[in-house]
Amino acid sequence: MAAGVATWLPFARAAAVGWLPLAKKTMPKPPVDNTSRSDEILYVNVSGVRFQTWKNTLDRYPDTLLGSSEKEFFYNEDTQEYFFDRDPEMFRHILNFYRTGKLHYPRHECIQAFDEELAFYGIVPEIIGDCCMEEYRDKKKENQERLAEDTEANEAMDAPLPPHSTSRERLWRAFENPHTSTMALVFYYVTGFFIAVSVIANVVETVPCRPPKGSVKDLPCGEKYQLAFFCMDTACVLIFTFEYLMRLFAAPSRCKFMRSVMSVIDVVAIMPYYIGLVMPENEDVSGAFVTLRVFRVFRIFKFSRHSQGLRILGYTLKSCASELGFLLFSLTMAIIIFATVMFYAEKGTKGSTFTSIPASFWYTIVTMTTLGYGDMVPNTIAGKIFGSICSLSGVLVIALPVPVIVSNFSRIYHQNQRADKMRAQQKVRLARIRMAKKGTANAFLQYKEDRSVGDRQSNSTALCVKNRSAFEHQHHHLLHCLEKTTNHEFTNEVNYSELCMTESVGFRTSRSTSLSSQQGAQNNSTGCCPRRARRRAAMRLANSTVSVSRGSVQELDTLHVKTTCIPPQTRSSLNAQAGDLKLNCGEQDFTAAIISIPTPPANTPDESLPPSPAPIPGILRNTRATAYTSDTVKISSL
């Protein structure tokens, strides 16, 4: 039950007097409250610190330790007080919760100690007030992350392989987590080495080497030692190709793998070589071929498999794309403005380098970033004035967004993490609240079930009563009064849907008796269950394989059991509700309903004809007999 409503229960029960003239049946007897009614002061001794409080205060939350009979275990007869061997400082907050209805988190306390106290006193942390909830959550998250880091660092990739894993899975795992086996580690380092070698080779082959004998011009090393470089390149590419093919083979989902960034980088890294191989030694296309060699530099990105930092950088850039885009946009605007101004300012000058606005772009960029190469310089006075404004504003324009972006990085990064976690927690929180609400609803249904069982077993002992508090008794009595007033009973969703289906079946079967009245009744029930569900249900029931019919029998069985354990007034109420349906005595007509299922009328034309109805009643009889003998019947699947 939610906070503090225990106080209002007497008022809600008193208000039930308003239902009395409407009720068709007598109200059930109220529960007898044997406990002493008068309010008294309780003494709670927590490790020597004595607290005093009204009994009613503690009774507000009957599902906690102090509010339920669980505290009797801690009662000390000699000193007439409840003794808890716990932290008195924490207990202060716990007791305040009972008094005010809000649980506050003491900021100076350790989060785990607080959690343990809450667990001891049976208080769920979800009810921490909004004022302290965020602080509590943050600290808890921090704590958990710290603990998770420690454990993760310990076990990390040492998770054992699932048994019976194929060689393919093992291969994939070796690729993803190189630390698992020595072979994988060796391969990992070898590929890393070859990436480095390949990159260095690309760099070195452009360095001018000493010219060979007899030539004056300096030659790049790549042309001097062409064969050596070619061999090295071939070796690297072979290894990369082999690695790529192995990964492709081992990948659990090849399409996904081929779409991933790393595989694209791999392909781009090795493609130029193969293209160069198949390309003929043609003068025209060799120019294009040279450009292709640029792509070999992408091999350096292969390092991101080996470096966590690169991956994080890539991720943060991706997540700050909007910020970067904004920076770019504002820069572009400034560049265009200043380039235009400079161009028109320098237009008249002879021999000006500002030949067009796009040409002035270069000047603007160089000036704004305070590079100042000096290859383009304004000569007119106006040009110089605008040039200085440009360089001054360049500092501002570039310097301003950068801290914004930096702070955005951290803000967005942390926010994303927090938002995701909060969303997940919110879902969990709502689900818990929903469950608690359902729990209250279900508690009443459970109470009814217990009561109904208790009715049949008159010698049932207090086992039936379980450990329900006085509050719960009174609340259930109140709900029971409401049921009697309206002549309907509470059920849960499962039973309700069953009821819908079976009632529709009932409608169908009595079609033969009186058509016009059925129409009316059917139209009424359309409100409760959609037509589709009914037809589906009818088809399901009509499509009688024996198991299905037994299933349907079970549903009707539960209904049937219900009618027996609830006093006959329900049956008469069924009369009133069903209206035009001639279900006079529950038993007989249920049989009638069951039997006529297998012979579907014309409204399910597309269903196969069921087997003969003969065996089915036999099954029915048996099951019905067993229903009588069974003592406890699970009515609702709680």
Binding site: T7, A14, A16, M333, F490
Partner: protein, 215 residues
């Protein structure tokens, strides 16, 4: 450059919703109400001093300002009926409790009503119930008022009931009620008809005794 700065500031401009409503709420909660003296209340109601003390402690804890407004009332009442929607019936109850129509229930109203409901005579209880049903306080219960009340009660049951709630169940209930209560068949039920009919019904008489020991 001004345009650049303008673009930069554009993102940060956000309008905050006006805080006036929060100020109003703050003012309302500042209003504190203290009930009359304990002796006076004891004289006016059928409760003993101890019972009044218990009641007031609970009341004050839930509503430190000393008054309950309708929203709080609806919220509290809804918590007892998680299956369905108790807000309509809570609205009618609120009006029944708030006899002076001030828009809020003070402790005196609360305790007066409880005194009638729990410790009052049969006639007083029936009169209170009549006032509950008579929404517009004209001294007559007509079919529309009764239908509203009954529908509100059925709303509290929620959707999942056994047997399944039909759409005309409230109407049938109201018809049965008028059948029983409306003696002269004039379409409305007066207080005397109501009290008379209830006194004739044994079930009702018996049930009225049930709620005596709630406190």
């Amino acid at each position: 450059m001004g345009a650049v700065v303008g673009t930069l500031t554009m993102q940060t401009k956000q309008r905050r919703p006006s805080r006036d409503k929060a100020d109003d709420d703050l003012e309302m909660t500042m209003v504190c109400h203290r009930p009359e003296g304990l002796d006076q209340l004891e004289a006016q109601t059928n409760f003993s001093k101890r019972e009044l003390q218990v009641l007031y402690r609970g009341f004050k804890n839930e509503c430190p300002s000393g008054v309950v407004n309708e929203d709080t009332f609806k919220q509290i009442y809804s918590q007892f009926f998680p299956h369905g929607d108790a807000s309509t019936y809570a609205h009618f109850l609120f009006n029944a409790f708030d006899s002076a129509h001030t828009g809020s229930i003070k402790f005196e109203d609360f305790v007066t009503a409880l005194s009638i409901l729990l410790r009052g005579t049969i006639t007083e209880k029936l009169q209170w119930t009549f006032n509950l049903y008579d929404i517009n306080r004209d001294g007559y219960i007509n079919k529309e008022e009764m239908t509203d009340i009954v529908r509100a009660i059925y709303d509290m049951m929620g959707k999942y009931t056994y047997p399944v709630l039909k759409n005309d169940a409230p109407k049938q209930h109201v018809d049965a009620f008028f059948q029983k209560m409306d003696k002269n068949r004039d379409g409305v039920v007066t207080l005397d008809e109501f009290i008379l009919s209830c006194q004739e019904d044994e079930n009702i008489m018996r049930s009225l005794q049930l709620f005596e020991n709630v406190i």
